[in-house]
Symmetry: C2
Subunit: 255 residues, 2 copies
DNA sequence: ACTTGTGAATTAATTCACAGCT
DNA sequence: AGCTGTGAATTAATTCACAAGT
């Protein structure tokens, strides 16, 4: 794809790498903090440190968006905030429904950073009729029967699934049938969706298992003490920071 | 690293790719489901479908662990469950502390899949003295003052941070100072940790922003309808399944 | 003098495609 | 005949290192 890309307007080649897209929110958060402290400009070095990446990566990432910096100076904070927000589609408002209002669903509903960016909780939905009408985070919970109507009326395209694993696929199917095309899944299940629907998962159990793997590795190394040529510094994985490749996450689920 | 790997026992070359490690829990979950249904063997094709990956990737992943399959037949489910569990370090028990018992912390404490694999909630910790002693998920909440003592007494090496963003770094520092070397961070902040400490993050806001990016892209394409040579099939990104590269996740946080 | 933007080099991950074993 | 295991090819991501601009 790098080789034979069909010629383009030259000013902006569509197709930002996924790895870059996944970091843009990180940069945006760091920039927003700077903006709140009224910092006018920032260098790639400083911003990279704040976002927990290295500066070459950050510059390369930004190069996919365009040339928004000034050589010898750095980046204008406000301008970059705007450009990244626009690139991520945060200049518009995204109504979101949360399905499954247990502990986790309630935590998500209460999450402040939600509204701060372009997301708005359009509805909270739960299968328990006893929950209906009860306000969570100031929003009354609605019954699952209303799901299709809510999605169509509010033009919801993003759904969050925080149900038990057993209900997730069924909820997913209804969301998709009603018009949702992006799903954030907290249930520990693989969701099957048709072409054109994006799913991202958040899975606590998976994350813990990945940590356990590295933890075990560390414990084993104490004793190992390889008596060979022993490459001193660089040999070890670049632990800490940096979440490595892949894009997994753990699913949380009440009860 | 692929080129100049120091000669090894040949039977097992240390160094499983990060991307593979991140998928092992996925395979394990699928295998556990098969095991519960008493399925004795499974082919790479079937297992891959259940885990939501393609079979070549799965086979390559397994090849890093060793040769645990039988050509012409497939994999023995029980045997694979054991091998992967061992590789992930799940044959031992990992005490975990959860710091910050808001909505999210409570959701995590109640999460069933916790104990089912090798993880055990050693303690729930919160800074609010009013919470102290109150049971959540059957475990009494303890005050932050006890943090160091708990970690040392129980030999805790994995900590989960579910505090507000403002408290996260401070909690992290205390966890690390007390001996924790793996952290799962739900607070929307970059954590600074010393070499040798692993951090993974779970960030709701980041996940939603990534979805918004793709959602915006989809909306834009409706109108685009490129009248050029129009590469029909393969051209579009492989949406759905597959979380793409990187390894980000969103942070959740109560209020 | 300083910092961006980016080709080129490197490293990692994925996918192909088939030899090798059951 | 069927399915694994894996070299080889491909594609993606990261890092280097420096030319180009202010």
């Amino acid at each position: 794809m790098a080789t034979g890309r069909t010629h383009r307007p030259a000013t902006r080649s569509r197709g930002i790498p996924e790895a870059t897209v996944a970091r843009l929110p990180l940069y945006l958060r760091a920039l927003t903090a700077l903006s709140e402290r009224s910092v006018p400009t920032v260098s790639s070095e400083e911003l990279a440190a704040a976002a927990g990446v290295n500066s070459a990566k950050l510059r390369k990432d930004f190069s996919y968006l365009g040339s928004y910096g000034t050589r010898g100076v750095g980046y204008d904070v406000e301008y970059l905030v705007y450009q990244i927000s626009r690139e991520l589609g945060l200049t518009q408002d995204w109504p979101v429904v949360i399905v499954g209002i247990g502990n986790l669903g309630a935590a998500l509903a209460n999450y402040g950073g939600f509204a701060s960016r372009g997301f708005r909780v359009a509805a909270l939905i739960d299968a328990d009729p006893g929950m209906a009408g009860k306000p969570v985070a100031g929003i009354p919970v609605q019954h699952t029967d209303e799901l299709e109507k809510i999605i169509q009326d509010d033009g919801v395209s993003i759904g969050v699934i925080a149900t038990p694993a057993g209900a997730a696929q069924q909820v997913c199917d209804r969301l998709v049938a009603a018009g949702v095309t992006s799903i954030l899944n907290f249930a520990p299940t693989v969701l099957n969706v048709p072409e054109g629907v994006d799913v991202r998962k958040v899975d606590l159990s998976i994350e813990l298992q990945i940590l356990a793997f590295h933890e075990q590795r560390k414990a084993g190394e104490e004793a190992a003490a390889d008596p060979g040529v022993a490459p001193p510094a660089v040999a070890r994985k670049q632990h800490s920071t940096d979440q490595g490749p892949d894009g997994d996450v753990p699913a949380v689920m009440p009860a």
